[in-house]
Amino acid sequence: MSVSGLENATVITVSSQLARWLLYSNNKSLASTGKSAWETPNIGTLESWLKNLWDSSWPSKYVVSKTQSLKLWETIIENDLRLSDTNLLQLEGLAQSAAKAYENIKLYSIPTELDSFADSLESETFLRWFKEYEEKLEDLDAIDPSELFTYVYDGIENGQIVLTKQPLIFSGFFEFNPALKQLTEFLSDQGVSISKSQPIENNASSSLAQTFESKSIREECQLCAKYIKKNYKPGKTFGIVLCDYFKYKEILSKELTTELSPRYTFPWLEEETPFNFESGSPLTREPIIQQALSILSSEQNISLETFTEFLHSPFYTGLDKEQEFRRKIDRDFHQEKRLRIDLGKSDAFPPTLPVLKKNLKTWFLFVRDNEARPPSVWARIFSQTLRRMGWPNGDRETNLRTTLIYETWIECLDALASLDHILGLQTKQQAWTALKRFAENKSFQAQRKNKPIQIVDFTNSAGMQFDSVWTLGANADTLPARSMPNPFIPVKIQKKLKLPHSSPEWELEFTQNILSQFRSQSKTIVFSYSLWDKDIAVRKSPLLDQYSDKAKSSISSKLSKQDIQPKTESILESFEESIEIPILEKEISAKRKIWSRAGYRLIKNQSNCPFKAFAAHRLDLDPISVPETDFEESERGILVHNALESVWNDLKNSSKLRDLIENDQLSDLIKNKIDEVSEKISISLKNQVHFIDLEKKRVGLLIEKWLEAEDLRESFEIYGLEHFETVNLAGLELNVRVDRIDLLNDGSQFIIDYKTGAVNTTDWFQERIQEPQLPLYAVKLKPAGIAYAKVVKDNKAANFSYVSKDPSNLQLPNAPTSFEKKTGISEWEHLLNYWEACLASLATNFLDGKTEIDPFRPGTTCKNCGFQSLCRIAETNLEAFLEDEDNEEL
């Protein structure tokens, strides 16, 4: 935009982006003439121009802001729908449509008569809201921005608004809506010169238009990026117009970054990108904001994760000075496996953490505040609480990004504060939700200045002038776009009055207008489209038929991205390493205790896969499995185990059991024992009174049924409960603990392990014993049998899965598993020897430092292992993962 002629004019734009861009281009073009300072031309949006005029009359009615208006609509709609018991999924979107409908009714002077609106439930209901909205405004002594046209008109007419006779230039408007038309005609009658901005003479005939097709959206974005890189010269402006803004935004942003400012990818370089998007990303995506919001919504008991995050966060004070001590407390808490931290108990933290304690105190006080207050007061409390903790810069020097984020944040607080008279008293939760919504909808730009490359939405590109324009996504579905009439105004009316987006005809005309504007304003124009959107074929926009397709090769084909992605083959080296990592004396003495404690799990891991054992016991890794619920299978099992232990501790032998059953006292004993052991149930369940109750009942029934089954056995005595032994396997000492050992009539022992899930005795018999716990025991104690006691809910009789030397002396209702069938070994003693040999060989393997990646059943073993990321089995044996499901059935 050239400066001449602007000095005394007021430029009124259709959008704020356009206003900003015009100012930017004006600066640029003036700078290029060698000037170093000039008076800023008067450029602003239509809205602000009207509002300024209105304000200049020092009126008694104020104009509600957009935020206020939307909240007003939301409140009205919500109250109205509550009456009809309707519960909407998306109130916000609906309020927006309603506000838009209101605006259009005002701009197009649509009569709001019941007759014409009785068309549908939507328009009829809207009419009710409409009335209420007007009443509300009346109460507030306020007006809606869309009413300004009339108010300003009247103000000028009755002399309250004094006009300067500066010429008005309207930019980016194709057609004036009736309200604007009326106003401008009136102004022009008053002697104000009105014009629509004419583009600078670009010598339209020289403008070069071309189209590109590509195979995917990504490729299309890459082409665009390459094109700009190739053609950029200082002083030149580029416009990138997106026909489908949200579909393209992220991909384009990434491709532009890699191509035009690859350094931006590394946050520590604090680089800015050479382009601006019309709207940035949601403010809530910024970690600073996210942390703030999470503090403001937290409860008194915070998770360890949140605590750790707070501890190490640079956004609050104290990190620098207390770093070392904070690490320590973090480590302590992790080792203690604390799950939650009570903010009210920070006094107990060590004195080495004064700042942390102070901050946690502030946090605690905030959490305890449960008053209902006006939004503005909440806004202030939110801000003060965070500030007291040093947010957002903590001890750091502030940087540009933080400042920009903070400024945007302030806008959200401002918005919240402006709602006092609309929302009234709010709970903390309500105020927080409103604030969060503002932050989500607030777009954040990581830079303050306009850049020579602008990315705009097609619909908002009216009036924008660039040296070069590239339009992305110019396909038949977006150019022209699908029409979208407002649901609250009868469609007939909308079409008749040609409301925006009301009909395909409107869309077509609008699109054509913008296209012809591109043609006349830019030296070069490129349109591109992708033939495919994922798997859906897309057509080039028919409005571009006049342009011929250009070959992609006209744009340099090499992406700078490829610089950092040389061909894999040439770069990676193959490296062969030993699969043995010997265990030295030192390691043994350091780890002896830990390994003993690991017990059978060490052997089990080794038999699952040597690498797994290595990772778990020599690298000390613990695959973190994420619990899906707060009461998982394993915890359910523990309750059963503990209760049974406790019961047998009392009973001591089978005759006592019989006594109790005969005297009908068994249930009571069980109930008492369960009450006893369930005291130790995890804290997270503590509040779940009903659930615990159910669980106790369940365990009670389960145990009762089980004991009744045991009552059918030959008599026995309890030899040991939670019995502990140390086994030495080829020099490896392992602690093993077993649930129970019974002493049978003939003096032999019977080892029992309670199982509350599925059991599989086959896993006792492989050479690589998959379930070594009981065999390990058997090797040591040489019992007459080992058994899984299946304490599970089942309508069949409770029973054991077992193998034994002589089933006859056990008198169990069901037959044992035949080990002979499984192993070919017929003698019990030989079986024990076989087990010993197998176990010893596993132990030897471990002690020899074998670390091969050799899962026993690739599918299942790996799936349950958790170390895939370290052993990298997926690189060599993809099937290990793929074929899992089939294993069960074959």
């Binding site: 200049s56 939507e122 209901t125 990818t265 994760e305 801000s383 469609v491 490296f575 099937e879």
Partner: protein, 1117 residues
């Protein structure tokens, strides 16, 4: 050219005044027919929106639309095509063009006026116009993978177990049934939610089951049982009935005299042959037991155990004769056997009780789900279509509603009608309600019931047959009469394939039609293309399903085809992803280009696993596994030994802390390892320092690139990484710490991108995805395998004709309930029929040749297909063709051992030690960030917006004062000043609670000005005075726009620049405050001075701050 065998039908289908339902088998060119009819209708339409075409996928919609537009284009070009059907299309298009010109439709420019869409997008359009009727409000975004939301719903529902309301009791009951397993509860609820699109069925509307409902449900069961009994009864010859009754009662009596327990004793009471009525189910079951063995075979031995002692030779013989007769009647034996699984049509108290409570959960769930949707601002597809139904269904006359919504539909075309669900059928019924015969409105439904394969998305093939028979009915009033048409020509496959499929499926498809079960008899096609050399279909059998024998032979075959016929297209189609049995790695190894669509999930990809570890490591230094994994990943590539040396002595220390104290640990490592660790640590240091500066996805990507990640992966890996970051941005950024765990689950459901650079890759996809496509060679592996069966559902329901069958899950540990089991068996029957149809779809994709791969299972009667495998379904036909010797065993190289070898030998691939990640190029503007921290004026204090609002308001008044004059303001009354201030302050967004105090301050400021001579001087009508003077220019080499509060030339010809500061210093030591203020604003005012000089000001320039609240004027020197 000879006329097509079905030419007449094709022609009839274009009659724009009649409604049709067209059965169009594979390859019969139905899309072309649809297009022709669409064009034909357009030629008559008032406006294009009157015609709605509904397709099954967005892809199909796009294709159909583009073909119609292409037809219009070609008609415009005037070139008349050669083939006759193209000519027809051409002439139809010409007619449309004429209309288009006439009525100014601009169809070509405005393609969106052609209403060709999927049912979902049609529904979306409806609810956009009916935000209230649909109960949706604004149009929410759709989450294509809503399972996370379902899970959240289930968890929230579980929390209600502690509720004291009735729902709490219900949930507790449910929990008890599931053995109190929270995990199970969640899974079952998610299962229910997955089937939510069927909850609209009228039955579920009332959440409370009544005795009537019980009667109704039992009534249906009774009906089915009666029907089944009837069908047996019908084939039982009358004379057999009489004899059998006598013999049964005879045998019963004999048994009755014995002491042994025997159910058959009851036969002694049998007086008449049981009528086909559920009340006599007992008798039927006894008879079945009497006639058949436990296994369901006809009795061979007639002995005293069933009541025929040796003493009664005659009866024995009679019974044997009867058995023989029964044997000779087809299907009778199996039907008799099936009686045993018929349930008694009564719900036990326990069943009914559970059913009631499960059903009462549904509305609760729906509420919670909606709450979850509302919270995230998203919804699922089911919600959209259910809402549309709700909107339409709530009107007496939906067509009226549509009219108002500007959607007056005149014609509806539906493609793939065989995969219609009840929900869609209901929608169609609503859309056509009020239609009458010959009112000019038509429906055109096209599909192939033999190709109905979307049961898992609630497709009901029975609806096709129903529509064929009854048209579209609403409450027994037929609103659309549909004339059935059938196409028979196959344009796609060569004659041999058509023959093969005709034979194969004629033998395997059911003979009779059954709406409820969806059983469809086969209709053969007629080939147009001539036969090609060699066989049309080849069977490849192999033996060991655990080896990669099958995969290897597929690879060999593909290699052969690609050499012999390089241009041809090849597809590998499977019913389940797992049926590929390791084909993909083999293809990769053989360097055969392929595009695997929705086959590989991301969580299995090494590149993605590394990225996940990297993200986890950045996220938490406590994640030891993640940290070791990223040290091991190719970008760092530490050997296991070095890893071990690095960390084994510090089991509790975070790895990052170890890395940060190099003196203590590093020296232990190999030289190579030390260098690697050093390079790695340097980069990680930077990453961790800045990890909170940007959203996590950006940090992770920056880290990955900085470490050299992109250099470590293949093109496919790059694409995977791309998907990873995109998803991460969508799912994790801005969501706090918690979802990182969930993110792994998300990856399990994401597929690696199918893109490939090859022009003619081998296509690997599921049969479902292949619907509508064609390939020269089609390979069907895994026919010998079966699919995993699903676990029990809390509520089992199956639509059965117009009815609904319903049963509750049994209590955990108990055996399944009879009715539940019966439903399962019906479901299985339906499923078996669907497997056959899936096979039909698969085989008819082939143009030139078909290859079938499978294995048999050894059992006592020799070899046979695995039960429930696809092969089993084709067995009646394939049995005779099955190759005796495997043709391919010889060629197969058994690589499994070699594969294993490789796992033992540990070879890793990594970046070389001296690898340097290329320095990124500078930004194209040539700017480089200075790196220095800029000092910024902002103070991070926000104590409300009062100060800002007041500032802006006062500035505006000052401007006004200087424009007009001070007197007029001085003379204003207190109240009018207050009013002025009030409006303006509110307009700036000041909270009402601050209003009074702000007004007081404002008044004070104004009064101060009126009274302060210095202020009066500032506001005098000086020379060249301006307020809010906007100037632009270069400050520090960057263009800036600045606004100066006030400037003028005073009596001494001095240019003044004055800035107003409306704040008030509340504390003590005001002088110190002003000193600081001076410093603070020095630069700003200097810049103004500079700008003025640039503008050409040569006078002396003086700068000052003015504080109205303090009546303080400070000159800045």
């Amino acid at each position: 050219m000879t006329a097509l065998p079905d030419a007449f039908q094709r022609q009839l289908a274009l009659d724009p005044s009649r409604s049709f339902i067209v059965q169009a088998p594979a390859g019969s060119g139905k899309t072309e027919l649809l297009i022709q009819r669409f064009l034909k209708l357009l030629g008559y339409a008032k406006y294009p929106e009157q015609i709605l075409a509904i397709t099954f996928t967005r892809k199909a919609a796009a294709e159909m639309k583009s073909r119609i537009l292409a037809a219009l284009e070609s008609a415009e070009s005037g070139k008349v095509p050669e083939s006759s059907h193209e000519q027809l299309t051409h002439s139809l298009a010409e007619k449309v063009l004429a209309q288009d010109r006439d009525k100014k439709w601009n169809l070509k420019e405005n393609g969106s006026r052609l209403r060709i869409q999927t049912i979902d997008s049609f529904c979306m359009g409806l609810i956009e116009q009916m935000p209230l009727l649909s109960n949706l409000g604004g149009t929410p975004a759709i989450d294509e993978d809503a399972s996370t939301l379902y899970k959240e719903t289930a968890i929230k529902c579980l929390e209600l177990a502690e509720s004291e309301k009735p729902v709490g009791e219900t949930i507790r009951k449910t929990l008890v049934r599931l053995d109190n397993s929270k995990r199970d509860f969640i899974n079952k609820i998610v299962g229910l939610l997955n089937k939510r699109s069927e909850w609209f069925l009228p039955f579920f509307e009332s959440a409370e089951l009544t005795q009537d409902d019980k009667n109704y449900l039992e009534g249906i069961l009774r009906k089915i049982i009666n029907a089944r009994l009837e069908s047996i009864n019908a084939i039982f010859p009358d004379n057999v009935k009489i004899k059998l009754t006598a013999l049964a009662s005879f045998a019963g009596k004999n048994l009755a005299s014995e002491s042994r327990e025997n159910e058959l004793k009851q036969l002694s009471e049998l007086k008449t042959f049981p009528s086909p009525d559920s009340t006599r189910l007992d008798n039927w079951k006894l008879l079945s037991q009497f006639i058949l063995t436990q296994k369901g075979e006809l009795r061979k031995n007639v002995t005293k155990t069933i009541g025929f002692p040796n003493t009664h030779k005659q009866e024995k013989k009679d019974f044997k004769d009867i058995l023989e007769t029964i044997y000779s009647i087809p299907n009778l034996t199996s039907s008799l056997f099936n009686i045993r699984s018929l349930p008694y049509p009564e719900f036990s108290e326990d069943e009914w009780d559970s059913l009631k409570s499960f059903i009462s959960l549904l509305p609760e769930l729906e509420n919670i789900l909606r709450q979850v949707f509302a919270d995230v601002g998203k919804t699922d597809f089911a919600e959209i279509s259910l809402s549309a139904l709700k909107a339409l269904g709530s009107e007496d006359d939906p067509s009226d509603l549509l009219l108002k919504a500007d959607m007056q539909l005149q014609h509806i075309l539906v493609d793939e009608f065989q995969d219609t669900s009840f929900k869609q059928f209901r929608l169609l019924t609503l859309l056509t309600s009020g239609w009458e015969k010959e009112d000019g409105r038509t429906c055109f439904l096209v599909g192939d019931p033999m190709q109905s394969i979307y049961r898992f998305r609630d497709a009901e093939v029975g609806l096709f047959i129903k529509a064929q028979k009854e048209g579209i009915k609403n409450e027994n009033v037929q609103q659309v009469h549909l004339e059935p048409l059938a196409l028979t020509t196959n344009f796609r496959s060569q004659a041999k394939i058509v023959d093969w499929t005709n034979q194969c499926f004629q033998q395997t498809f059911p003979n009779i039609e059954n709406i409820e079960l969806g059983s469809i008899p086969f209709t053969p096609s007629q080939a147009i293309l001539p036969a090609e050399d060699g066989p049309g279909a080849i069977i490849h059998s192999f033996t060991d399903p655990k080896s990669n024998e099958e995969a290897q032979s597929i690879v060999n075959l593909i290699q052969n085809i690609r050499t012999e016929d390089p241009e041809s297209t090849i597809a590998v189609l499977v019913r389940a992803r797992t049926h590929l049995s390791g084909l993909i790695p083999l293809l990769q190894k053989s360097e055969i280009p392929f595009s695997a669509e929705e086959i590989d999930t991301l969580d299995k990809r090494p590149a993605v696993l590394d990225l996940l570890s990297l993200t986890r490591a950045i996220h938490s230094i406590w994640d030891r596994l993640a940290w070791l994994s990223i040290l091991r990943a190719p970008w760092c590539g530490l050997s296991i030994n070095d890893l071990f040396l690095l960390c084994s002595e510090e089991p509790q220390t975070p790895i990052w802390d170890i890395l940060k104290s190099p003196d203590r640990f590093l020296f232990k490592l190999s030289n190579d390892g030390q260098e690697r660790v050093k390079r790695f640590s340097e980069i990680m240091e930077k990453i961790l320092d800045s990890k909170l500066e940007r959203p996590l996805s950006e940090i992770a990507e920056g880290a990955w690139i900085a470490l050299g990640g992109p250099s470590c992966v293949s093109q496919a890996g790059l694409r995977d990484a791309e998907t990873f970051f995109t998803k991460m941005k969508e799912k994790l950024d801005g969501k706090g710490t918690y979802p990182l765990r969930n993110f792994e689950k998300v990856l399990e459901r994401l597929f690696a991108s199918p893109e490939t650079d090859s022009d003619n890759p081998v296509h690997i996809m599921t049969i479902h995805k292949a619907k509508g496509l064609e390939f020269d060679h089609v390979l069907l592996p895994g026919l010998g395998r079966k699919k995993k069966t699903e676990s029990g559902r809390l509520l089992f329901w199956i639509p059965y004709g117009d009815d609904l069958l319903l049963a509750p899950l049994h209590e955990k540990g108990n055996s399944k309930l009879e009715i539940y089991q019966f439903l399962e068996s019906i479901d299985k029957e339906k499923e078996n029929l669907e497997i056959l149809r899936t096979l039909y779809v698969a085989t008819t994709r082939a143009k030139k040749r078909l290859h079938l791969f499978g294995h048999l299972q050894e059992n006592k009667d020799g070899k046979s297909p695995v039960a429930n495998s696809q092969l089993e379904k084709l067995w009646p036909f394939l049995e005779n063709q099955w190759p005796v010797e495997s043709e391919i065993t010889d060629e197969t190289v058994d690589t499994s051992d070699a594969e294993k070898e490789k796992i033992f030998k540990r070879q890793i691939r990594r970046l070389p030690n001296n690898y340097v990640v290329p320095e990124p190029q500078p930004n194209i503007l040539g700017e480089q960030s200075s790196g220095k921290k800029i000092s910024l004026p902002t103070e991070y204090i926000w104590a409300g917006n009062k100060a800002r609002c007041l500032g802006v308001t006062l500035h505006a008044i000052f401007q006004e004062i200087s424009k007009t004059d001070l007197h007029s303001w001085e003379n204003k009354s207190q109240s009018s000043l207050e009013k002025i201030l009030k409006t303006r302050l509110l307009s700036e967004g000041l909270p009402s609670s601050d209003l009074d105090s702000a007004i007081q301050v404002g008044i004070k400021a104004l009064k101060n000005i009126f009274q302060d001579p210095k202020a009066r001087w500032i506001f005098q009508n000086h020379k060249d005075h301006r307020s809010e003077y906007a100037v632009s220019g270069f400050i520090d080499n960057t263009p800036e726009n600045r606004i100066m509060d006030r400037t003028f030339i005073d009596e001494n010809n001095v240019r003044w620049i004055v800035d107003f500061k409306t704040g008030k210093h509340e504390g003590a030591n005001v002088e110190k405050f002003f000193e600081e203020e001076k410093k603070r604003y020095n630069n700003q005012l200097k810049a103004y001075e500079e700008l003025f000089k640039q503008l050409g000001e040569t006078r002396i320039i003086k700068k000052a701050l003015y504080y109205p609240m303090h009546q303080k004027f400070i000159e800045i020197v």
